[in-house]
Structures are given as C-alpha cells and as structure tokens.
C-alpha cells in the first residue's frame, strides 16, 4: 500500500556566509497518492518552497539535507545529485514561481518544451517538436504557437507554456509553486481549471504550493499547513476548514476574507520565529490565542486527530484530549 511519493522526516539547512545556519525545513513528512491534488499552504518563510525544491534536488551548494524521499518505493535523495537527476523532470517536474518570466527569450517555445525530452529518452528532434505541439494543445494553446517566442505570449499563455514544459517527459508528479500568484483572477481560474483537468485526464499527482487558502480549498482534496519549517496540520480540506485542530490553521482561515461571509477578518499578531535559532516549545506559541502551560516547554509532534488528520498541537488529539508524549514518533502513522 505504498504511496506514489513518501517524504519522511525531511530536513534542510542553509549555511549562509557570515551568519548562523538556517534550519529551513524541520522534519517534514507527508505522502502523496497517484492522481491526488495535495496543497502545501503557508506564508513566506515557512519552508514550503524549500520543501518542494528539496524533492527535486534543486538546492544551492550551501544547503544540506537529511531525511528520506521515496518515489514509488525508491529512495531518490540518498545518493545526492546523482540519485535524483534521473528522476528530475521524468518522474517529478515543477512549475516554478514566476515561471512565466523564466522562459528563455531567445528560443522558440516549442524548442524549450522539447529540450528535456532528449535527455530522458522520451523523444528527439522532429518527434520531440511534434510532441511539444501536442502538449501545447493539451494546455489550451494552438500547436502552431510552438513557433513563437515567449514575448509573443500573454502572461496566462506563458504560464500554460510553463506547465506544458513541465509535462514534457510525462511525469507522475507535478509540483506547482504559486502558479497563479501574479495572474489576474480570471486567468487564475483558467489555470486552476487546467491543472484540475490535467490531473484527472493524465492521472497526474499535483502538489500545489501557495499562500492562498481559498485556492487550495477549491482545487485540492488534502492539504498540509506549514509553519516555521514544520507541518502544523495536515488532513482533508474539509476537516481543515470545518474542524481545524491547530490554532494556526484556524487563525489563517479567519484572516482570509470571504466574498459573502460576514465574519470579521483578523490578523495574527506577531511574526514567525527565526529559523536560525533553536526554538523551545511550540514555535507558534508566541502568536497562539489558546496556549497552555506545556506549550512553552514541549515541542509538539504531529498527533492524530482523526483518521488521516494530524496536527502538531498539544491540545489536539482524539476527542480533544491532551496527548502524552510529544516526541513519540511511533504514535504517528501517516496517511492511513
């Protein structure tokens, strides 16, 4: 019953020059099934982008990594760059933040889509270009636009082209980092609809990384909310909205205005903790509105609230009771 992607206890550190190391990702674990749309939600600095970059092995030289990532049962990060490269783009592909501005301006779009195909033995030359045209059609752009240059495309079209590029080698997993952030609301809706359709038609698993909760609520079936490099809560979207177990999740939803909702919208006071220092106790405690005494001492691990619904809060737990040992990993059985 192994999942398509299993991430266990992922840690990422950055060592900037002349400064203390930053513990950007602190023990992140989650699973992804084939064809599933999974949201990774959080604000700036929570580590969500670093997490997915780590999955692709796209970390800078001053980064170090620990933990395990299994793709279809195979561990892909254990051997460093060499073990992840064969999978990059072939099994996992990514649409980067601001991808529509990251297209090579001097190469035709079709060529750019076809480029990775040769390396992974998917197609070459004319066949690759033909496939590029097909991919463009798949994302809603006429195939003949493959002959155009990026500057001839609008913002929305460039984002679609970036998605087509990610699909070049028919990956099983698509990582989408803030795919709609710089786009108009109508174009955003088009892109989200495209991703949903692709996920359904191609059986493509999608990890949608964003700070925009309503977007995740609309598109994903499951999500994880990240805070200070850790997962604060994870579970089905419905549970996250209607029965959040972590105060951060609840407050984050409360800070998001709803179109027809009349509830007051409130900020969360304070700011996230610095990740270059050790944190005692729960990282969210300074901003939490319902802390208990233990929160200052004990660092909560992900605890089971319901089946497949976990939260890293000392107040969470089945039927609202307090959990005993926050460090007990065996109490956590992810996914199922």
């Amino acid at each position: 019953m192994s999942s398509l992607l299993e991430v266990r206890d992922l840690h990422v550190w950055f060592e900037p020059p002349h400064a203390a190391p930053v513990h950007a990702v602190q023990g992140v674990s989650f699973e992804l099934e084939a064809g599933e749309r999974f949201g990774l939600v959080g604000e700036s600095g929570c580590g969500k982008t670093t997490t997915i970059l780590a999955l692709m092995g796209l970390l800078p030289p001053n980064a170090s990594l620990a933990g395990e990532v299994r793709l279809d049962g195979t561990s892909i990060l254990a051997g460093g760059e060499d073990s992840v490269r064969p999978h990059r783009w072939k099994d996992i592909a990514m649409v980067f933040q601001g991808a529509m501005n990251a297209l090579n301006p001097v190469k035709k779009v079709g060529w750019q889509i076809a480029e990775p195909m040769a390396f992974h033995g998917v197609a070459e030359g004319k066949a690759a270009l033909k496939r590029a045209g097909e991919l463009l059609e798949l994302v809603g752009i006429p195939a003949r636009s493959a002959q155009r240059y990026p500057h001839e495309f609008s913002g929305g079209m460039r984002q679609r082209a970036s998605i087509a590029m990610a699909l070049a080698c028919a990956p099983k997993i698509l990582l989408a980092d803030e795919p709609t952030t710089a786009l108009d609301v109508m174009v955003q809706a088009q892109i989200l609809e495209l991703l949903t359709r692709l996920s359904g038609e191609l059986g493509l698993a999608v990890i949608l990384v964003t700070h925009d909760l309503p977007v995740v609520a609309q598109m994903c079936s499951r999500a994880a909310v990240m805070y200070a490099g850790e997962i604060a809560e994870t579970g089905p979207m419905d549970a996250l909205y209607h029965a959040p177990a972590h105060p951060y999740t609840r407050l984050l939803f409360a800070a998001t205005p709803d179109l027809y909702g009349a509830d007051a919208v409130a900020s969360i006071p304070g700011s996230p903790p610095r990740l270059d220092r050790d944190i005692t106790g729960c990282p969210f405690r300074p901003r939490c509105d319902v802390p208990i005494e233990r929160c200052a001492r004990d660092h909560p691990a992900l605890l089971q609230v319901e089946t497949a619904h976990l939260a890293a809060c000392l107040r969470a737990g089945k039927r609202g009771g307090l959990r005993a040992e926050p460090g007990a990993d065996e109490a956590v059985r992810l996914g199922q």
Binding site: P214, Y241, D258
Partner: protein, 345 residues
C-alpha cells in the same frame, strides 16, 4: 458600511476622465508618417468619493485602474475630463501648482519592499514629507509628529522603530511606515494601490483594518485598487468594476457583490475561490484574456467574451446608467446608486 453623508461637495469627483499613452512607433512607421496611435488606458471614467468612505476599484490588468489613480495623484496628465478635489479641478495643473495638493492626496504603493529608501532610517523616511512641505517648527516638534504618525499607523511603541532600517522590518511593518509617511501630511484622500497584495495573509487584515479606521477616525476618503474581490467586499463601502478603461458596474459593496448586474462582474464573482471546500459553486470561466487596450472592440467592449452577448452589443456601446430596478426609492435616505453599463441589465 457607512451611510453616505449628504455633503455638498464630494471630496473627490472624477468626471469623464481620459488618460492615454502614445503607442511607440518604430522607425519605419515614424518616417512613413503613420498616424500616431494611442492607448486609452482610461476612457471616460466618472465617480465620486466622500470623506469617510472607502471605495474599491476592481479589475484585471489592463483595465485602467492604476492609470486612473496615477492621474488623480497628479503624476500623469489626463487628456480629457476633470478631477475635482474639494471642488477644485486639479487635472490640468502644473507641477508647482500641484504642490499644495500633495498634502491633501497621498498614495500607498503595492510593494512594501521597494517603497522605502533602503538607506533611510524610519525616522528619516517619515520626516521627509515634513521637510519638503515645511511642517514642524523644530527637530523636536517634527520628532513628535513622527511618533504620532507611527503610532497612528499601529507601530507601537514608536521609539523602537525610529532608528530601524527597512531591511530590519517585516513587510507589514514597512507598509505601516509607508502609511505613517502619508499620514504625517494630514491628507484627506488616501489612494492605495493593492496595499496588501504583497503581504502575508496573516498580516493583511491588520493593515486593512488600519485603513478602515483611518476612514472613520480621521474622516479620510480612501480609494483602494485591488484585484481581490473578497477584500473589496469586506472592507469597501463602494465598488467600481473596471474593464478596458471604463467602469462597467458601480454601487455599494454589498449590492455589487450580492446582486451583480453586469455579466463581467457576475463572471468575476463566480471565479473567486471560496474558503469553504464544500462550496461547490460552478465558476463561470471566461475564455481568453483581456484584449490589448490598443485594440478596443467595437460596440460594448466586453462583447467578445460575454456569455450573453446579443447583436446589439456588437454595434452599440452601452452607457453607464442606473440599473433597472435599482432606482432610488422615494422616501429612502440617499444612497449611492447601483450603475451598470450593459444593454441586458
């Protein structure tokens, strides 16, 4: 939501505003003396705003909302129409004449990471407008005004922030410094260009509440540009929806959001993602993207993408008028009318 005051002169009155930019011509066209083409970024926009009111200007990129605000601010000269501030038309004024106006109208920008000079401490940034306009009799006096402004913007205790550099502040704090810098001149009208879109979600509500409070406690009029309809619905009194340089619908926030008249507004509202995952309302996704403002479609500008367009829409450009059924009811207190520019409304 606030009742509209029955004031004689609105704080801001924009009438038939037209702002255009020349389309750059290549060398060939210039030598062939091809007629100069213009992009009508703002093509006949009219609205008014009173003190104590917040109005949201909503629309997608290319709709002209930024150009409208830039024209009101006086950074761009309009090609037609008027911008009346407390009754006085500031549209055609030259730089020097605009100086006193600058104390009445101030702007908050979208990017908090770029809107402060990285070499200036907070104290210097907030002090600058006073030095430019000669406010404050002495250094000490100015410092008092700085502290007041910072606290009004929610940065307490202000002393802690005075000597900080921008890179030592979070996005939300920087935006508050920018607001304090605007407040120090005592403006009546505050223009805000996407004031929270680059801030973290958990911080946005605070800044928006601050603006809302300024509206009531300082009796300011606030014109906010936003692409986020949820924010507009929550915080603004009035909403104006823009498309290709025109206002296509205008009215109180609750009216526009709950009973939209224009097909574009209806579509926009339907595609706004909802927080509740159980909300399975079907979004009405329009095809294509907003056309280039250089090539405005004939007749109704929206007709190529409109799901309910008829022949009349292709030929005739609808006027922004009171939507049928939305006329003022006699006996009711005066309230902003609900306008829409659609033949089928």
């Amino acid at each position: 939501m606030t009742e509209t005051r029955v004031s004689k002169t609105p704080l801001l009155e924009v009438a038939d505003l037209v702002t255009r930019y020349p389309v750059r011509r290549g060398l060939m066209q210039a030598t062939a003396r091809a007629p100069r083409r213009w992009v009508h970024a703002v093509d006949g926009v009219s609205f008014s705003l009173d003190r104590g009111e917040m109005m949201a200007l909503v629309g997608e990129s290319g709709c002209g909302k930024t150009s409208t605000v830039q024209t009101i601010l006086g950074m761009v000269r309009p090609a037609g129409g008027s911008v009346r501030l407390n009754g006085t038309d500031i549209a055609g004024l030259r730089d020097r004449q605009l100086r006193p106006v600058r104390r009445t109208v101030q702007m908050i920008y979208q990017d908090p990471y770029e809107s402060l000079d990285p070499r200036f401490r907070v104290r210097q940034t907030v002090e600058e407008p006073m030095l430019v306009h000669g406010i404050g009799s002495s250094r000490k006096h100015r410092e008092q005004l700085i502290v007041t402004a910072l606290e009004q913007a929610g940065l307490r205790p202000a002393e802690v922030y005075l000597d900080r550099y921008p890179h030592e502040l979070s996005g939300g704090q920087r935006q508050r410094v920018a607001i304090a810098t605007a407040l120090v001149l005592g403006p009546q009208l505050l223009l805000a260009d996407e004031p929270v879109s680059m801030l973290d979600v958990s911080v946005r509500a605070g800044v928006l509440s601050l603006l809302d409070n300024l509206r009531t406690t300082a009796d300011m009029g606030i014109l906010m540009i936003t692409h986020d309809l949820s924010t507009a619905a929550h915080f603004a009194d009035k909403i104006a929806v823009m498309y290709l340089g025109r206002i296509v619908e205008q009215g109180t926030a609750s009216e526009v959001v709950r009973d939209p008249q224009h097909p574009y507004t209806k579509a926009l509202l339907s595609v706004v993602p909802k927080r509740d995952p159980r909300d399975r309302s079907v979004p009405q996704i329009l095809t294509g993207e907003t056309p280039d403002p250089v090539d405005v479609p004939s007749g109704c500008r929206f007709h190529p993408r409109c799901p309910v367009a008829v022949d009349r829409c292709r030929a005739e450009d609808p006027v922004l008028r009171v939507a049928p059924g939305k006329e003022r009811t006699p006996g009711h207190p005066a309230r902003p009318v609900h306008l829409a520019a659609c033949h089928l409304a």
